[in-house]
Symmetry: C2
Subunit: 614 residues, 2 copies
Amino acid sequence: MDTDELTELAQQLRVDSVRVADTAGSGHPTSSMSAADLMAVLLANHLRYDFDHPGHPGNDRLIFSKGHASPLLYSMYLAAGALDEEEFGTYRTLGSRLEGHPTPRLPWVDVATGSLGQGLPVGVGMALAGRRLGHTPHRVWVLSGDSEMAEGSVWEAAEHAGDQHLDALTLIVDVNRLGQRGLTRHQRDLDAYGRRLRAFGWHTVEIDGHDVEAVERAFNEAASTADKPTAIIAGTRKGRGVRAVEDREGMHGKPVKDAGEAIAELGGRRSIRVDVARPQAAPGNGTARSRPLSLPRYDIGDTVPTRDAFGEALTALGHAHEDVVVLDGEVGDSTRAEYFAKEHPQRYFECYIAEQQMIAAAVGMQAVGHSPYAASFAAFLTRAHDFLRMAAVSRASITVAGSHAGVSIGEDGPSQMGLEDLAMFRSIHGSTVLQPCDANQAARLVAATYDLAGVRYVRTMRSGTPVIYGPDEEFPIGGSKVLRRSDADRVTLIGTGVTVHSCLEAADALAAEGIAARVIDLYSLKPVDGDTLSAAAEDTECLVTVEDHHPEGGLGDAVAEAFGDGRPAPRRLVRLAVTNMPGSATGEEQRRAAGIDAESVAAGVRLLAEKIIR
Amino acid sequence: MDTDELTELAQQLRVDSVRVADTAGSGHPTSSMSAADLMAVLLANHLRYDFDHPGHPGNDRLIFSKGHASPLLYSMYLAAGALDEEEFGTYRTLGSRLEGHPTPRLPWVDVATGSLGQGLPVGVGMALAGRRLGHTPHRVWVLSGDSEMAEGSVWEAAEHAGDQHLDALTLIVDVNRLGQRGLTRHQRDLDAYGRRLRAFGWHTVEIDGHDVEAVERAFNEAASTADKPTAIIAGTRKGRGVRAVEDREGMHGKPVKDAGEAIAELGGRRSIRVDVARPQAAPGNGTARSRPLSLPRYDIGDTVPTRDAFGEALTALGHAHEDVVVLDGEVGDSTRAEYFAKEHPQRYFECYIAEQQMIAAAVGMQAVGHSPYAASFAAFLTRAHDFLRMAAVSRASITVAGSHAGVSIGEDGPSQMGLEDLAMFRSIHGSTVLQPCDANQAARLVAATYDLAGVRYVRTMRSGTPVIYGPDEEFPIGGSKVLRRSDADRVTLIGTGVTVHSCLEAADALAAEGIAARVIDLYSLKPVDGDTLSAAAEDTECLVTVEDHHPEGGLGDAVAEAFGDGRPAPRRLVRLAVTNMPGSATGEEQRRAAGIDAESVAAGVRLLAEKIIR
C-alpha cells in the first residue's frame, strides 16, 4: 500500500477500535489509536500470514504485548477478513473469542497477553527456536507499550535477543507517554529506550509513529538488519486523531465518550480489506519425527537422586522425540538438564539466571511446535510465577522441573529450598503436578508429561533415595501406589517424594510395635487419586500426610481436596509439613527439625494410637 | 589502612573463607576469594558501622547479594570483632546463626540473600528511603555476582536507582567470569556491564578487583559522585590466590580440596582486627511519631469497593503513623493507593510496572525502620513471588495489598484476575492473609496489619459490595464472623470477600424454602478460626466453601487445614471455586459461569439437601 492508502487504513483501525469499545462499553481504544499507523503499515506491507493455516511454520508471529490494545488487534483481523463484522461486535461479551486481552481462543493468537512485559520474552523464545532449529524463515513482531519497558522481564529478553543475534525479531515500542495512571517515567524521551536497548546489543530506529512513511522505512530497516534484533521506537500520541482524548491524561482504559463524533472526526467508517501476504513456503505437515523411547532403568535398592533420573530420562526423550527442547537457568549441572545438553546441544537453551525468560521462551517455543522442558531449582521457579499463570491462559503445554525440593537439600538454607512450589504449581489452571520418590518413577513420570496438555510440573530431589520400584512399573497420571496394606490397617501414611521413604520406615517401625499402617505414595499431586484415598479413609481411622513443603497448598491440601466434592471425608486428617523456618543443617537434621522424618512420623502415629485410633 | 595492610587483610579474609568452608564441609570459598580485596578495602577504609547498635540509623548498609559468598561476609565479621572464633566455626551447622546464605538471624544482616538478583533491588529501597525521608546520612553497598546481572530484577533496580539519582548507593560487581556451571555470558567483558548501567543513568568505574589501590580509588570515586549511583565493576578471579582453584571451572560451591595447603599458599592464618569506623551521628531512639488513628467510617447498606476503603484507611494510617510508606506499581488509580499519594506525597513511592522492585523496596524500607504498604493487582503480585518468599526469610514486616481479585473483575479477562494469589500468600512462611467483604471491615483489617510481624496480605475487590458491618465492629486477626446462625442449621456456607454476599443471599433464599444455613465470613484466611469452623462441623452436616479463586490453596484449603491437627473433621466439605478458564463477561456472569454466585450456591445446597444433609 502507498502512503495515502496506509493513512486510510490506519484511520479505519482507529474508527473500528473506537466503535468496538463503544459497543462493549469498556476497553482501551486510546491505547489502540496510538499504534494504529504502526500496525497499518505492518499489516499491509510487511506481515506474512496465512489466516487459513495459523499453524503454518512460515507464518510471521505477531504478539501484542500491550494486550489491552486488543481493539486494534481485532480491527486488524477484521481488515484482513479473518473476522466478520458480527463476531467483531461480540467483543468482551460472555462466550466471545474476542476477550478483553487476546488469548489463543482466537487461532491467530499464539500466546495470551495482558500481563505486561511478557510479549518480548515470549517472542525471544520463538525467534530463538527459529534461528537455531527452524527450517522455514519467518519474522517475529512484538508490539509493546512504553510503560511495560519498566518490567525486568523485558530486559532479560533484551539481553537474550542481543546476545543471540535474533535479527528475525522486531520490537515495536509505542511510546505514547501515558501509562494507566499518568506520565511514564521517560515520557517522550525516545532515546532513553534507544540507549538502553543499544547497550544490550540492539539496532534501534527512533521515529514519529504517526508518519507512515517513516514507519515503512523503519520496517524495511528492521528487515535488512543482520545479526541484531531491531527496536522501532515510535513516538506516538495516545488517542491519536480525536481531540477530546488525544494525548490527554485520564483517558486510559475507557471508551471514547462521544463515539459517533469521534468516528466522524476520524473521517467515518471505511471498509478497506487488506490482502495479507502469505508465507512463501507451503504449509507442510509440521510433525516432528519420533523414535521408540528407551528410558533409563535403575536397580531396586540402589540410591539415586531423582534429579539424575530426570536428566537421564530427558536425554532419552530427546532421542525419541525430535521436538523436545530443554531450557535451564544456569543451574543445569544441578538440575541435571546438562545431561541433555551433552547429547543434544542444538536443542539445549542456556537461559542464564533469568527464570522469567526461561519460562517465556518455553511458552514461545511450544507455540511454534516444540515440546519444551524447562528446569531450575524449585525455589527459583517462583520468579516465573506470573509467566506460569499466563502460560495457562495461553493454553501452553510445557514441562517444568524443579530440583532441590524442600528442607532435604540441607546446609544451603531456606533461600535455596523449594517449600512453596507445590502450592504455586497446583494453583495454575489445568496443571499437572508430579513428585517422584525414586529414579524409575522419575523417569516414567518425566516421559509421561510429554503428551499432556497444560503446564506440567515435576519436582525432583537433590539427594539420593533408594530405588523401590522396578523399571517396568507403570505410574499413570492421577494414580498412586499403595506400598503397605493390610486389613488391620489403623492409620494411613501418605507421602510424596522423599517423605514416601519416611512413611515406609515409620510403618515398618510401627508394624514391629503392632500398629498396622497403610502407606500411599501420592506421586500425582494433581490430579489426585481420590478413590485410593477414599478407600483409605474408609478403612482407617486417620490419614496422615507427610510432606517436605509448607503446610499450605501442598500434599495435605491435595489430599483434603480429594474429598472436596462431598464424598465422605476422613474422620481425621493429620498433616505433617515444614512449619518452622529452617536454617542450615544436614538434610536428615532438617527433616527431623521439621518433624517429617521417619522417627517423627512414627512418634506422631504412636500419639494418635493412644488417643484416637483404636 | 594502607596498601600493604589491605593486602594482608584480604589474604586473611581468603584464609578464613577457606577454613570455615573446610570445617563445614560445604560452602562457596572460591566465590568468596574473588571478592576478598574489594571487601577488605570496604571494611577497613569505607564502611561506617556500629556493630553494637545494628539499628543505628547512621549505619551504612552492606548487602551481600551474592549470598553464597557468606564465608567472606562472616570472615569480615570475624575481622571486625563482631563474631568470635568459636561461633565462626559453627558455620552451616544445626542451630548456627551462620547459615549457608546470610539471614537476619545475625543482627548485622538486614535482609536474607541467596536468591540471586535481589540485593540491588533491596538496596534501592534502602537508598530511596534514605534520600527521600532520611535524616541521618549513610551509604548502601551491594556486592553482586556477575551471573546474577542476568536477572531482570537487577535492571528494574538499575532503572530506579538511575532515575532517582541514588548517589548513596554503590553496586560492586564481582566479575569473576565463572558462574555455577561455567562461563558467564559476558565473561571478562567489564564494559558489557558498564555500558548497560551507564545507559540506565549510572556512573561506572571498571577496575582490576585485585588491585587494592584501584579498589580504594574506586570507592572514593563512588563517594564523591553526586546525583548518580555508582557501579564498581571489578574484574576478578574466582578462587584467587590458590592455584588449584583459581580461575578454574568446576570449583563452584565446594570447599577447597587441600585446605591446609591452600592456607599455606595464602600465607597462613592472620589475626588482623579491623576497627570499623562508626557512624558520625548518635544512635537515637528511632521511634517514629504516632497520633491517634481515625479510620474512615461507612454506612451500612452503602455500596463501596473494598479497594476504596483500603485507599482511605491507608491515608488515615499515614496520618496516624509517620513511618508508614506506600509503594505502587503504576496502578495506584486502580488499587487506590493513590489516595495516600495525594495526602502524603513524600511517603509515596511510584515503582512503575516493576513489581519485583516494588516488593524489594518495601523489604529494604522496613529494614531501615519504615512500615511499608505495597499495592498492585492481585494477579501481578505473582511477579514478585520469589521476593515475597525471601521477605519471609528476611523476617520482613510488610503489608501487600492485591486489588482486582477473582473473576469478579469482569470484562478484562483472565490475565487481570487474581486467582492464585491466596495460594501464593498463604504458602509464605509466617504470613497473615486477610480478605474483607465490606468497606468497614477492609478499613479495620488494613489498620490491623500495621502491628503484625511478617508478610501480611490484604485482598481487595474492584467492584462495590454492600456495607454489612458497622464502623465500630471489630475483626480480630484469626477470627471470623458468623452472620447467620440457628439451632436448625443443616449446612454451613463459608465465604470470603465477594462470596460472603453470595452466601448471604443463598442462605436467605434457602431459608425461605425451609433449609437453614449457617453463614460464616472467613475474612482471616491465615490464621484461620478453627474453633468456629469446628463448631460448624459439629452442628451441621456439611461445610460448603465458596471462593473467587482457584480451588487449590485458597479458602477451601484454609478451612480443611483448620482440621489438620487431628480434630474431628467435618463429615462433608464441599468446595465451590473457579475451576473454569474465564473469558470476558460481566462480573455477575463470571461468578455464575464459575458457579460461585448466590444462585449456584443455593442450587448446590438444594442438591445436598436431597442427598446428604437431612
